[in-house]
Symmetry: C2
Amino acid sequence: MIKIGILGYGNLGRGVECAVKQNPDMELSAVFTRRNPGDVKILTEGASVCSIADVPGWKEKIDVLILCGGSATDLPGQTPAFAELFHVVDSFDTHARIPEHFANVDAAAKKGGKVGIISVGWDPGMFSLSRMYANAILPEGKDYTFWGKGVSQGHSDAVRRIADVKDAKQYTVPVEEALESVRRGENPDLTTRQKHTRECFVVLEEGADAAKVEEEIRTMPNYFADYDTTVHFISQEELDQNHSRIPHGGFVLRSGKTGWNQENSHLIEYSLKLDSNPEFTSCVLAAYARAAYRLGQEGARGCKTVFDIAPAYLSPKDGAALRASLL
Amino acid sequence: MIKIGILGYGNLGRGVECAVKQNPDMELSAVFTRRNPGDVKILTEGASVCSIADVPGWKEKIDVLILCGGSATDLPGQTPAFAELFHVVDSFDTHARIPEHFANVDAAAKKGGKVGIISVGWDPGMFSLSRMYANAILPEGKDYTFWGKGVSQGHSDAVRRIADVKDAKQYTVPVEEALESVRRGENPDLTTRQKHTRECFVVLEEGADAAKVEEEIRTMPNYFADYDTTVHFISQEELDQNHSRIPHGGFVLRSGKTGWNQENSHLIEYSLKLDSNPEFTSCVLAAYARAAYRLGQEGARGCKTVFDIAPAYLSPKDGAALRASLL
């Protein structure tokens, strides 16, 4: 059994707990939290709830620590810190800072003789894999990534920060006609506005000026100004009832040409339709926790990404069983 | 530069020649043929055309030999024979015989200190990878593979073997309603007939009995009896004009559940739409030839499949460039 620790018990941490339950070769040993452990109720019988301060004491009792914090402030410090003590897996998703994060985790993991796998999830993660395989196979082609339909946490937060907004959810929606154009092999050049629309469901404080809030959303730089945005004002009850889930997904496409004179066209498409963004991300984290453990057993050290890991390491089946059942 | 040899110059061999041209770190050294080399015209300037009997003499002049023969009679002998001399890649696709082929190639490659990668292409190949990743991520779920719309060489051959059939092409067509049911997360149990239909375009010999030929097609065991089959009788001109290409493709889906009580559904879908089945397969072979070469440089030995190879080995970019551009 691979002994798993979870650091951070929000949506992602709870998702990892569920994923561990589905993997018969893993068991959850402990959940670590910044909150008072006595206030945190977990679902797994027999697993401990501990303070984040206690993590080092679990060095010999946990094989892989799955880091479930945020990329902005948690993971840049936590992943390198704990990669010295455990094999670690995180879902670091600030693309621009990946080289720096990689270097930090690599140094720490090598110092501790451990394996650290960063940026695991679906984007970065499975979408990255899809882009990479497709680029290697079709060197002459064009890449497209569409996200949604799904809840963007960052955009929802941005709307909630507006004065007189009580609550809000924002959906990113891919433009069907743009997707279809890519699928038809037309290799369109698409602007930001042509690829996605944004749809907001907003609960106002009493007495708020709806027109003013709508204007503020639509013109918000970076978040909404470059998109066609629809704003719906609804009640808190309706928001709670119809918009409490965290669905997401998207499409990665590569359209390419082959033949001596590029006479043939090909389309590779990978897509995800997810009821729960954090639970799916958690499932990917759990599979790569298995890989981290096995690579560690083989003597591998340092930081890795999904690009560096042979697919077979993710599966509980051995090579012969994989070849017989899935090849 | 990675020096490539091609064994067999049919559709697949010509496709590999085109793929090598698209990969700037590869060059075609020689094409080997069973025909009289003087009768074989290739497209690449500077590459040699040689008899298959000359292959061993190229041991020091070729890094990777890509085997472009058929799975029925060519590859079971050729891949092990040449894996002792070169790193080799093949597209062996007789699923039931993969364990035996793997063992033979493994023994030969280890004896010669080489890497052999077998069953590379799209199915087996990219579809296998998609199934494997999806199974590792969603342990509780159901797999579906649909093929087409595309030309099945085996079924076309079967129709051509019927008396009074002059020429024929057979298309395998996925049933849209079945695909949609899977996409809706309904986890249907699908019979053979519910998943695919078969469409035949047939040129008759003069004076043939069309009704008799149609009946013979529709009732042919294994090939057509279990499917809804449509037969169109057309002229040789029409067949040549509208059905001379070799398109194919298909869909791999996994529908799975997550959450403590499996309350959330997820769909992973990978699809290919290919103008030319052999040219796309060739592109995959070329990418894995790069992997074979690099693994060989690192000292790896023996037989591998797509499951055993970290994605980064397929790309001409190094780790830092991959992380910066595709993660």
